[in-house]
Amino acid sequence: MARAGVRGAAVLWTGGPALLLLSTAVAITIGPADIAVGNVVAVVAEHIGLGESGLSPIRDGIVWDLRLPRTLLAAVCGAGLGMCGVIMQSLLRNPLADPFVLGISSGASTGAVLVVILGIGSGAVSLSAGAFLGALCSFALVLLLSHAVGGTTDRVILAGVAAMQLFSSLTSFIVMSSANAEQTRGVLFWLLGSLSGTSWFHVGLCASVLGAVLLVCAAKATALDAFTFGHDAAASLGVSVARTRLLLLVVTALLTATLVSAAGAIGFVGLVLPHIARAIVGPGHRRLLPSTALAGAVFLVWVDTAARTVLTPQELPVGVVTSLIGVPVFVFILYRSRKVR
């Protein structure tokens, strides 16, 4: 049993990143402008100071300024949302928990839209700050509501539905009452979850937050395992429950908020990917967290590629595609958990 574990870890740690790298490189080549994997490698090499790509400035721009940051942000968002899903499913002991389903993403959207429309502060940092406050508000609301109504699996989800409705209508209210037509179209597109118009700044911001959260998660992976049978069981296995829970919930809200402020509310990634990863590597969080992150990254890279190319020249918001995939999975998990109990 130990040998299989070692081999599994080796496959995960080499195969996973290799698959992600390959997916990213290939996804960048797909689109109206004809670009080969070799070109992508050459452009990257040129920009980090290793030789000349020999590509025209326009095609260089397509790779370096448009497709590369977009694809990288897709990978970061996929990884981050997947990890948020794992953490929330463990802490709330709920297989349906996900930042989108529980309304955290909606809260972040409201905060971000408020910043955009009212013009508070400027730039992406204040957008992220607004999204973070919104995410914390809705998270607090969901926890309070679900605690007040009993805290069972179904009730946490219902509390999430309530929060999602509340914050979506708040967002609509803000948009309808104070945005002009141009702003409205931009905001709506972004609300559905979209990776178009990604800049390197967003990639850097989201990747740094993701990196920090990964470090926290690595330190807390065994503590997350301890929550399998509930809070008391976790405490009797040596976990400081209140402190660990608070830390991980805040970290989740922060990551969700940063991702939402960059790419809008992309739903169901955090719901679907943890289940797929769990089926492959088992329930232990030391493997589950990194493999969900890798699977989420690969998943969103391809879903975004599909979203921007399937209906060329029109572009679908990526959140629409993830929801089309996620809702049937949500129903399936609901159906299966009915049989489990």
Binding site: T153, A226, F229, S236, G238
Partner: protein, 266 residues
């Protein structure tokens, strides 16, 4: 010396749930906590496990108060089995038993050889060898409790706290489980409902009523008709017919006053 409670109390909403209880189990012995629902058995176990802090009084391990010890240090000594563990996550038996190694593992490291051998020993002790790959959700209630005990053993505790571990089991599995628990060479404190099981398997009983310990001693001394009438408000006949002459309890139906019966009929 081992686990020891001195005059511990726990208050909630202005009410004393546990009120000045002292407990000093002899190492290796099995202590039964008896008492009606709401008498404070579960809360006392939570205080002993350090899961919640005492309002007053001290729980100590080898003379060190629990609040001076880290949660991890406590979890390496004291393991807990709850009455009804549930999870939504698809776990194999092996996954569940491995949870017991959490207090022994450091944050970044993979399971060590010591972890593997403790898990294997726990599985062998509880005779779960042919079930390791089976899913938790396909187990019967008795098997689930056996797996939880294996998980607790993987913690390599010296004290084992069990909160009504036989509650959802049929009588065969109740007997099997308690035989297993008392065979384990650790100090056990078990909250129990069934007086006959308590008499059969415990070395020492403590009876709780409204948070206070109203009696403590060997089963033969504690389980008397008077005490059962006083604490549980039922009539019973106690005879020394249990194994090794331990007390055996037979309950009698409630006495109805004629007036009461008449009122029911009308």
């Amino acid at each position: 010396m081992s686990l020891r409670a001195e005059n511990v109390s726990w208050r909630a909403g202005g009410r004393m749930i546990v009120d000045g209880i002292s407990l000093e189990p002899r190492p290796g012995s099995t202590i039964g906590l008896l008492g009606p629902n709401g008498s404070g058995k579960s809360t006392l176990l939570r205080l002993l496990a350090g899961v919640c802090a005492t309002s007053s009084g001290v729980v100590s391990l080898d003379g060190t108060p629990l609040e001076k010890l880290s949660r991890t240090a406590i979890a390496r000594r004291v393991a807990v089995v709850e009455q009804h563990a549930t999870t939504e996550i698809d776990m194999s038996v092996l996954d569940v038993v491995r949870l017991g190694r959490i207090p022994h593992r450091r944050a970044w490291s993979a399971p060590s050889a010591a972890d593997d051998s403790a898990v294997r020993a726990a599985i062998e002790y509880t005779r779960l060898e042919d079930k390791v790959a089976q899913s938790w959700h396909t187990l019967s209630g008795g098997e689930r409790q056996r797996v939880q005990i294996a998980r607790a053993l993987a913690q390599e505790p010296r004290e084992l706290l069990l909160d009504e571990p036989t509650n959802h089991l049929d009588i065969q599995h109740q007997l099997e489980l308690l035989a297993l628990v008392t065979r384990i060479p650790v100090t056990s404190v078990i909250a129990l409902h069934d007086l006959n099981l308590a008499a059969m398997f415990c070395d020492h009983l403590v009876v709780l009523e409204e948070g206070r310990a109203v009696a403590a001693g060997t089963p033969a001394r504690i389980l008397t008709e008077e005490l059962i009438a006083e604490v549980y408000n039922v009539r019973a006949i106690v005879t020394p017919d249990g194994p090794d002459g331990r007390p055996s309890v037979r309950f009698l139906p409630h006495e109805h006053s004629p007036g009461h019966t008449a009122a029911l009929r009308s």
